[in-house]
Amino acid sequence: MSQHTHEHHIPLWVFVNVFLALIVLTGITVWVSTFDFGPLNLVIAMAVATVKATLVGLFFMHLYYDNKMYMFVFILGVLFVGVFITLTMYDTMRRGDLDDAKAGPIQTQAAFYDSLDIRAAKFGHGDGHGTTGEHGSTATTEHEDTTHAGTDAVPHDTTIDSTQPAGMDSTAGHSPEETPAEGH
């Protein structure tokens, strides 16, 4: 199977089938993304993407037929990306484990947002917003702010808490303002 001469004889129908499979899988992943499975969203999307990438690698890139050394090199690359992400996230996700002071930033929102019209825009609309609770909890985790008057964090948190963030354009639907053709 791994004889290099064999690659000359890979029939076209293999590639056509792979191509069709890729299109179908793209369709599936887009269709599935319209449902909300919670944390499974990521798992499903990544699983489909991995299957697609595997198809491309095995057939379009001939890994299935070629010297297995190439596949080893490729997998080694992916493996080290995995090591990098895993070990880095062991830190970033576990900073508060021993000592909650280290969990997150003192001032969550970057300071330059003050000068934007975002907050103003928020006051302009009145209707409810589905993710209010999440933002509320983000703010309350910054409990250190109140006990230790460290920085100018207060204005932000009070803004978030008091205004009950609402009526952002993005809540009206999925990307209504994303119509590039209009812009040009």
């Binding site: 021993l98 000592d99 002071a101 280290k102 997150g104 930033p105 003192i106 001032q107 250190e144 230790h148 008057a149 460290g150 920085t151 100018d152 964090a153 207060v154 204005p155």
Partner: protein, 313 residues
């Protein structure tokens, strides 16, 4: 521990220092023994098997021994496992402060340290703490990364911008100790050196009372301390030199011109507004870079600063 230090290590003056030193010396002596073994053998072989007469000889074919390989793989492995667990154990102790610890807030900034105590007192470049009592440090930086390091306590922790980190120590002896910044932070990194002053419980209480200027000292003196401790000093001089912000010298009652063209005579209201909402009226020729002190300074603090500014003729 608690001596004058040794050739290798400075005096051990905190509760965790003893354990750190024990591991240090364990690794040290293990290394010395192994080093003498390796280098001694090398020297012996070089001497014993040196080439004599300048002609090459056939030599022994002795080139592998699984027993030896396993030996010098397994023994060091066991050794380093011991060191790992021991070191990790000490590390955990360094990171979990006792529940009853006294909490002091540490702020690092180019290029000085400031400390805020629970009573409201504060100090710059000198942290004062009682002996034999755990002290927890809640640290953050105002600009780049600094690192809080007291060699005699074996305590070190980076001080990060926009994030709190913690460290703690319990000093076992009164005295003065060096405090270094060990994370490179620019021009005067090497001058970012402070002191740790460890007092007896009684002296500490006395110091606190003296330092608690909210109640004990004149308003303008409190203002002067705030001027130094709240970092006004980094941008506003009192000798007339303009820095990042205008100098405070003779500021009271002066008429200032602002970036937007308006002008105003400096009074209580203007100073109050400049502290809480600094960029509302920026003096012409300066950048709107001052941070707000909303939530940091209480009303009484602001009054004190105003009182202090009045004295700067």
């Amino acid at each position: 521990m608690g001596n004058g230090g040794s050739f290798w290590l400075p005096p051990a003056s905190s509760t965790v220092a003893g354990e750190v030193d024990s591991i240090f010396y364990f690794v040290y002596y293990a290394s010395v023994v192994l080093f003498i073994l390796v280098i001694g053998l090398t020297a012996f072989f070089v001497f014993r098997y040196r080439r004599r007469g300048g002609t090459r000889q056939f030599t022994s074919g002795f080139s592998h021994s699984n027993v030896m390989e396993v030996t010098w793989t397994v023994i060091p492995t066991i050794l380093v496992f011991v060191i790992f667990f021991w070191g990790f154990n000490g590390f955990l102790k360094m990171h979990v402060a006792p529940k009853d610890a006294l909490q002091i807030k540490v702020t690092g900034q180019k290029w000085f340290w400031s400390f805020d105590y629970p009573s409201g007192a504060s100090s710059v470049n000198e942290i004062v703490a009682p002996v034999n009592k755990p002290v927890e440090l809640l640290m953050s930086s105002k600009d780049v990364i600094h690192s809080f390091y007291v060699p005699d306590f074996r305590v070190k922790m980076d001080v990060l911008p926009n994030r709190y980190t913690k460290a703690w120590f319990e000093a076992t002896e009164t005295g003065e100790y060096n405090l270094f910044c060990t994370e490179y932070c620019g021009t005067k990194h090497s001058e970012m050196i402070g002191k740790v002053k460890i007092l007896s419980e009684l002296d500490y209480q006395k110091w606190l009372e003296a330092a608690d200027f909210d109640t004990t000292i004149a308003l303008h003196e409190m203002g002067e301390r705030l001027y130094k401790s709240k970092a006004c000093v980094t941008c506003h001089s009192i000798d007339g030199t303009p820095m990042n912000g205008p100098s405070f010298k003779g500021i009271w009652g002066k008429t200032e011109h602002f970036a937007d063209g308006s002008s105003l005579t400096i009074d209580e209201n203007y100073i109050r507004e400049s502290i809480l909402n600094p960029n509302a009226k920026v003096v012409a020729g300066f950048q709107p870079i001052m941070p707000t002190y909303q939530g940091i300074l209480k009303d009484r603090h602001i009054d004190a600063i105003i009182a202090y500014l009045k004295t700067l003729k």
